[in-house]
Amino acid sequence: MNERIIPWQPTVIAGPKQAMLVTPETAKMMLKKAKRPLFVIGPLVTGDPIMKLTMDISEHWDLPIVTTGDAYKTFGDRGIKTTRYGVVEIVNLLKDPDWKGIKGEGQHDLVMFIGCIYYIASQGLSTLKHFAPHLKTLTICKFFHSNADASFPNMNDDEWLKYLEKMKSD
């Protein structure tokens, strides 16, 4: 089996439905298609270059940011205002088709994740896989997340940085 698409922690494999492996190009297609995308950033994003890249990506695609864990502070310290939720709280809201979304404009239709602790993210993605047919999930960590709808493969840092660089433009 292709090592790049065995879930990073192999035992999170949950069943027959597996994420689609995506390149930055496909990920960008998803963002382009989305009407109300959301960017969820976890506490593993602690410094540059990743932080800068996530900020650039969010700016380019005009993505509202939700921070989980204590990432709110990491970003706040850099002057970036985000909305803070526990990862289980934001997933709980995202699974409700009637939730009005971060801006009160309506439920999101695409949620892109980066930097959440792998196994709790995997559990949250599982919730959304089962209970949120109204949205798609995309993960751009350097780890393959089988519970997402679409995920980057397992990668080393160099390759990952290149992937993220590509996400900054159309």
Partner: protein, 790 residues
């Protein structure tokens, strides 16, 4: 227990409300409160599976179950495997939600069974030793002993034999609950949840039975706030002596070893030590025993080969302990029906014969179901093999470690299979160059809890666990800590003193650190959280592996938190109640607040008590490293009593949380039982079962989860002050949701007045009524009016 024969009937017997007539005996429901006055039996004595369902539904209206399926499939019957992904149902008709809830119920039943079978074994063992009529006497300061039994069974147990009634009830309930997991029984996720909550409650009951039995019969500390400090850590064991290690939870076999060592006057010749709750309970029995530490120490210590004899009883023990022991020629004695390990049952064999067979390697180990014999055999074997084992070289030396590490191909699979993805590959690579610092960093604070998954994955068979054990050997001197011996229940006099400050909010909260060691980033996080709340005047309660973990931390001055803080159940108290079964005293203390402070009768009165706790007792459980089914049952049980719990990130793998929705304002309305008004409430507590991603998030959440609708303005100020402080510390800002918790201006903490006022203005805040008797239960009659309701 009071069973009144017909000739003794009181005059008003025939008027009493709840006359239970069963074949064979007539029981008058006469029970006593603190004053000794008879009190009326409440509506739900010995509640059956469905009797508290209405309460569960009320809880779940607010705290809807949140499911995170751990597996998309079901493989419970031969129709399966069934794929339940995204709306598909199994061949039996079950959907993914109900399946998750079923798995939660199953976990809670297993947990409740583990605690309660342990309790049953202890109870029968102790009745055999001490007699049926051995009194349950917890000393001068505890009159309301057994608050859980009183509430659920409807009477106070007076003797060991009386505990059997509660045990019988619990076992029957657990049987019904387990049966609901069978294919084609329950089909509704919320009903599975209601059953899981019942299983959790039964778990709490079983634990109380077990701990009360052992406290009274083995004369363990009875709510003693000055329980002694006991030595803890791998460095406290004298390696030159024969060593008996007890692992597990059931004190009887460890007590057997201690008794034998004392009877033979061998205290100075043999070391008796323990890992996990067995360690806590043997030190409650005898303070000369030593605590190695929590369950995270297990493989490290076994691999080190220091223990000559390993006595295993039940729960949380490595199931490959025999194989591990064989590798270093230690002997294993299994002592309970829960874990026999394929060993020959030599219970009826002569002790010296067993000793001979073990030391001559005729048998790999022995199953001995008699604690006295366990004590004799374990001690004699340890004394006879210790010298020879001392000559064995069990661990590689540092040069060898370096050579072994050079085999590493940098495949990375060790890190990938690690539950916490810790950088173990980098540590191995470092060791290959003679730099052991990375490995040491993972050894410290159990960042690596030696689960062994990496080692078995390694394509070059690098013995990573033995390397870890060797690293630990070099750090023995540092591994000397202490812990206050488990004190058991909270005294009535303490409850009288702190009841009002807790309910009114002057003591900002009671926080209980319990559970296992599946810590996401090492053990220190728990001690750091405990320290944070101790410094802020909270009452910190702990038990089990949590209590040991807290003891393993030293502050800047080199003190453990047990050295620094008293064992009082009071502000700034650090209260170690004891082992896993002692957890029962934590909801027990909350129940006693309702009873002693608020004079709520307990007997048969579960709903009223839980409603009181949910709305007025600012308690919060934290199970940061919860991994076991027991922890699932403990948390679910205390949730039913109205106590919120915060789990670590691994807690999401339990598949279910109970989360509140602050955006759904209608779910927070409260019935004010005093005025008959429906009032707008607040998200307090916001969640019932929460999982945080890291310590920082958890700390802020814990402070918030101590807020209760009943707080006075002074109490609310205090609680908000801590919440805002911690939010600033860990998130950098004043929390935006603070306006939700301000009912009137007087609730605003002075220090943050301006900031909070700004937020109130921005949010268009308006003052609202403070309920006098907040409740989520229905009014007995129709409410008078709707005030402030939207």
């Amino acid at each position: 227990m009071i069973i009144v024969a017909p000739k003794d009937f009181k005059e008003d017997f025939w008027k009493s409300k709840d006359i239970k007539i069963s074949i064979g005996d007539i029981v008058q429901d006469e029970v006593s409160g603190e004053s000794g006055e008879p009190v009326e039996m409440g509506p739900t004595p010995k509640p059956h599976v469905t009797d508290l369902r209405e309460w569960d539904m009320k809880l779940m209206e607010r705290y809807e179950p949140f499911y995170a399926p751990f597996c998309d499939m079901c493989c419970l019957c031969t129709y399966g495997k069934c794929d339940l992904t995204a709306g598909k149902k199994g061949a039996c008709g079950i959907d993914i939600k109900a399946q998750q809830a079923r798995m939660v119920l199953l976990a809670c039943c297993i947990g409740a069974a583990a605690h309660s079978a342990h309790a049953r074994h202890l109870l029968e063992h102790l009745i055999e030793k001490k007699g049926n009529d051995f009194p349950i006497d917890l000393g001068m300061n505890i009159d309301i002993e057994a608050p859980i039994i009183r509430t659920l069974i409807g009477k106070a147990p007076k003797t060991l034999g009386d505990l059997r009634e509660a045990m019988d009830y619990m076992e029957e309930q657990n049987l019904h609950l387990l049966s609901a997991c069978h294919t084609g029984q329950e089909g509704s996720s919320v009903d599975f949840e209601s059953k899981a909550l019942h299983a959790g409650l039964m778990d709490n009951l079983g634990k109380e039975i077990g701990d009360i039995a052992q406290i009274v019969a083995l004369d363990m500390p009875k709510g003693d706030e000055n329980a002694p400090l006991v030595e803890m850590g791998m460095g406290t064991v004298d390696r030159d002596k024969p060593i008996v290690l007890c692992i597990g939870h059931n004190v009887s076999s460890g007590a057997g070893v201690i008794d034998y060592v004392e009877e033979e006057g061998l205290e100075d010749n043999v070391e008796v030590c323990g890992i996990c709750c067995a360690a806590i309970d043997i030190t409650r029995y005898n303070q000369h025993a030593k605590v190695i530490g929590p369950i995270s120490k297990q493989l490290k210590f076994i691999r080190s080969g220091v223990a000559d004899v390993i006595v295993v009883d039940e729960q949380c023990i490595r199931t490959d302990v025999l194989e591990e022991a064989k590798n270093n020629q230690a002997k294993v004695i299994a002592t309970t029906d829960k874990m026999c390990l394929g060993l020959p049952n030599l219970t009826d064999e002569d002790a010296d014969k067993i000793v001979a067979q073990l030391i001559n390697n005729q048998i790999e180990g022995a199953l001995i179901l008699n604690s006295d014999k366990v004590g004799e055999v374990a001690t004699k074997v340890a004394m006879q093999i210790a010298d020879d084992r001392g000559m064995l070289k069990l661990l590689p030396d540092m040069d060898e470690i370096q050579e072994l590490a050079k085999e590493c191909t940098e495949c990375g699979w060790c890190t990938r299979v690690c539950p916490n993805s810790i950088p173990i590959m980098e540590a191995v690579m470092g060791a290959s160059e003679g730099d052991f610092s990375k490995m040491e960093a993972l050894y410290d604070n159990d960042v690596c809890y030696t689960c062994g998954r990496c080692e078995q994955e390694c394509e070059r068979d690098i013995p990573i666990m033995s390397m870890m054990a060797k690293i630990g050997e070099n750090k023995l001197k540092e591994q000397r800590f202490n812990m206050r011996a488990g004190r058991g229940p909270i005294q009535d006099v303490e409850i009288r003193k702190v009841g009002a400050p807790i309910v009114l909010g002057d003591i900002p909260g009671v926080i209980a650190f319990v559970g296992c060691t599946n810590y996401p980033e090492g053990a220190q996080d728990v001690a750091k959280m405990a320290k944070e709340f101790l410094e802020r005047n909270y009452i910190v309660v702990t038990s089990g592996c949590g209590a040991m973990t807290i003891g393993e931390y030293r502050d800047e001055e080199g003190n453990t938190l047990y050295e620094k803080y008293s064992g009082d159940f009071d502000a700034k108290g650090l209260v170690n109640v004891g082992s896993c079964v002692s957890n029962a005293h934590i909801p027990g203390a909350c129940i006693k607040i309702a009873n002693i402070f608020a004079k709520k009768p307990l007997e048969g009165n579960f709903e009223e008590i839980s409603d009181y706790i949910l709305n007025r007792v600012g308690a919060c459980g934290v199970a940061w490293g919860a991994y076991s089914q027991k922890a699932a049952a403990i948390a679910t049980g205390v949730n039913r009593w109205g106590i919120p719990v915060v789990l670590g990130p691994h807690g999401t793998k339990y598949r279910r949380l109970y989360l509140g929705r602050t955006d759904k304002e209608e779910t927070w309305q409260l019935n004010d039982m005093r005025t008959g008004n429906v009032v707008n409430g607040e998200p307090a507590p916001e969640h019932l079962l929460y999982a945080a991603e890291n310590r920082e998030e958890a700390t802020v959440e814990i402070a918030k989860l101590c807020i209760r609708p009943n707080d006075t303005s002074k109490g609310r100020q205090l609680k908000l002050n801590h919440y805002i402080d911690l939010h600033k510390k860990y998130f950098g800002t004043i929390p935006e949701d603070v306006y939700k918790f301000v009912r009137v201006q007087k609730d605003i903490p002075i220090t943050y007045k301006k900031d909070v006022m700004d937020i109130l203005e921005e949010k268009g805040w308006e003052p609202r009524a403070i309920p006098q008797e907040p409740s989520i239960r229905d009014f007995k009659e129709e409410p008078k009016k709707k005030a402030n309701g939207k």
